[in-house]
């Protein structure tokens, strides 16, 4: 068991690396899009789509599936890439991102791409959509869970706190929010633009159970998600501390890479870094 689990973790880490490479290629092809946060959250999406979720990419409307609601819609390239590798649609289709007649809209559109559970992009509303899905599941006595992926920048939105208050009041325990705490937003570092700390205390004050993990430690992400399942009296927030631009040295922690794709030259460099694990191994 232990050995097979270790093997699984190794597989997940390799998958996260593959997903990062594909993000670079996909954004380069698209010519616009968000680099830093998509690279930074690749481990979270890998853990979700390749370990945590009860889902079947060949049956995206399976009633008992877990729901993933991406609140920060600009992260969608990492979700699309993870979904493509998981088998929701052909990997080739990633080349259509942000292009005319594509199912891969610049921000996700509910109803056009099976497996996308919600429209998002305008920030701060994913938690509300997740709550609605969680209430419906509760009313129907269904066992699936709702995973809301949210970012730190969007905590500036008032709608978030309306939702946080409601979920705490109603003990929405089939909802787990995973917050990508990468400390950047378009105009700069979150603590300069609009300070969020003490973020943990804020959620706890609204009756949430809060966990904090290293968002690049896939085992830690999985453990936190499992702990959340065992919390019956509250919704759970997992604050995943991540490095924006993770594994592409020149992008790491640079807020200027928040909302832009790599240039062709940067893409070459980024892919070389990713293929060699930052120079630790030889490139094939």
């Amino acid at each position: 068991m232990a050995e097979s689990y270790d093997k699984k973790v190794k597989f997940l880490e390799e998958m996260a690396n593959k997903i990062r490479q594909k993000i670079i290629e996909t954004l380069l092809e698209a010519g616009s899009g968000h680099s830093a946060s998509t690279l930074g959250s690749a481990d979270i999406f890998t853990a979700l789509y390749f370990y945590i979720l009860n889902h079947d990419p060949k049956r995206p409307d399976m009633p008992e599936r877990d729901r993933v609601v991406l609140s920060c819609g600009h992260y969608c390239p990492v979700q699309y890439v993870a979904m493509a590798f998981a088998g929701y649609f052909p990997i080739e289709e990633l080349k259509t991102l942000r292009k005319l007649n594509s199912r891969l809209q610049g921000h996700p559109h509910y109803g056009v791409l099976p497996g996308i559970e919600a429209t998002s992009g305008p920030l701060g509303s994913g938690l509300s959509q997740s709550i609605g899905m969680a209430l419906a599941a509760r009313m129907n006595r269904e066992k699936h869970r709702i995973y809301c992926i949210t970012s730190d920048g969007e905590q500036d939105e008032g709608n978030v706190w309306e939702a946080v208050m409601f979920a705490g009041k109603n003990r929405i325990n089939n909802l787990t929010a995973i917050l990508d705490r990468n400390n950047i937003q378009i105009d700069g570092y979150t603590e300069n633009v609009m300070p969020l700390e003490p973020l943990r205390d804020k959620y706890e004050a609204f009756n949430w159970h809060v966990l904090e993990v290293d968002g690049h430690n896939i085992e830690a992400i999985i453990d936190a998600v499992n702990e959340a399942k065992a919390i019956y009296e509250k919704p759970t927030l997992i604050i995943a501390h991540t490095i924006p631009g993770k594994d592409v040295g020149f992008m790491e922690c640079e807020f200027k890479y928040h909302g832009v794709p790599p240039t062709p030259e940067e893409a070459v460099l980024a892919l070389k870094e990713l293929r060699t694990l930052c120079g630790k191994i030889q490139e094939d």
Binding site: T119, S125, G132
Partner: protein, 329 residues
């Protein structure tokens, strides 16, 4: 004369006609819809009694959600419920929902084509003493511009009940608008209500103007039509309860027969019913038009009936608009 086929109330022009706010019909409609379908759920933002959601809440407590004063969250939680197969109604005052939460409605309800029903209470200037902050006179414009959105503006409490029951059955986003103040119940259970189909309520011999109205002001339009007929000006009065998708056929038909049109609405004359009818006619049959409604201005505090007079939506104002426009035939 009144169109006998639409079976309006025999008391319609009597002093003692029964009056009730249109929102009462919403409350009754919710309970009927809730009885008919267990997936119907109701969300309210701290004004449950005022929007008449209390009867539903008391009958189906497990299907009622108190959202607090948080219209943005309310709209999007409803989307999550709808995408999971529920049939949510969200209710607040129209200035707040769909006013304050318009972007949430635009992106998450309309763009997702989610089966969410939006109920805007206290619409128009019927909110009277509360003043302009609470008088929604722009809601039809901001909803009409949204793709996928269907809009009902019922004329009395009974029609509001029918519209609410219909909205629960129709798949897709709906907006229903209703008012606070008591207004006459002049339709009957037998009056037809078919979504998307405008009804002719009044038709004079040799009509010279088609009065196309929506909401409780349809009653004022009928009073005006009666007086105008007595004064020798024949009209047709259309109850245009579905603003979107609008009944182009009926509008073109009455415009062709009358050769002039006056629209009547408790809303800004831009973007609402007047705008919608003007678009239909400009495309199909350019016709001289008059516009009765709020003339690009905000309201103020005051008794409802006096506000209607001051802001030019009374019987006299409708008659004046008709008299003026028929000269352009």
């Amino acid at each position: 004369m009144l169109n006998p086929q639409v079976k309006l109330s025999p008391d319609i022009f009597k002093e003692e006609i029964k009056k009730e706010p249109t929102r009462f019909g919403f409350g009754e409609g919710l309970v009927i819809a809730g009885d008919a379908n267990p997936n119907v759920v109701v969300l309210c933002a701290d004004i449950t009694a005022s929007t008449r959601c209390d009867a539903f809440r008391d009958k189906f407590p497990d299907r009622f959600f108190q959202m607090g004063i948080a219209e943005q969250n309310m709209a999007v939680v409803a989307v999550g419920l709808a995408l999971s197969g529920k049939i949510p109604f969200i209710s607040s005052y129209a200035t707040f929902s769909p006013g304050r939460n318009w972007e949430q409605i635009r992106t998450f309800v309309a763009y997702s084509n989610a089966n969410v029903n939006i109920a805007g209470a206290h619409a128009g200037i019927s909110t009277g003493p509360d003043g302009a902050t609470h008088q929604a006179t722009e809601d039809l414009a901001i909803m009409r511009v949204l793709p996928n959105m269907r809009i009902f503006v019922p004329c009395d409490s009974l029609e509001t009940k029918k519209a609410t029951v219909a909205a629960a059955k129709i798949w897709g986003p709906d907006y229903i608008r209703f008012a606070r103040e008591k207004t006459p119940i002049f339709t009957t259970e037998d009056t037809p209500f078919v979504p998307g189909k405008a009804e002719i309520f009044w038709e004079s011999a040799k009509p010279k103007c088609a009065i196309i109205a929506c909401g409780p002001l349809v009653y004022n339009a009928l009073l005006a039509a009666k007086e105008l007929e007595e004064e020798g000006i024949g009209t047709i009065v259309v109850n245009n309860h579905t603003l979107k998708p609008i009944d182009e056929k009926t509008i073109i038909d009455v415009a062709k027969r009358c050769r002039t049109v006056v629209t009547v609405e408790e809303h800004q004359v831009t973007g609402g019913l007047g705008g919608a009818v003007a678009e239909v006619l400009a495309k199909n049959l350019p016709t001289p038009m008059g516009f009765v409604g709020m003339q690009d201005t905000f309201g103020e505090s005051g008794p409802f009936d006096q506000l209607i007079e001051k802001y030019g939506m009374g019987v006299g104002a409708i008659k004046e608009a008709v008299t003026k426009i028929v000269k352009k035939r």
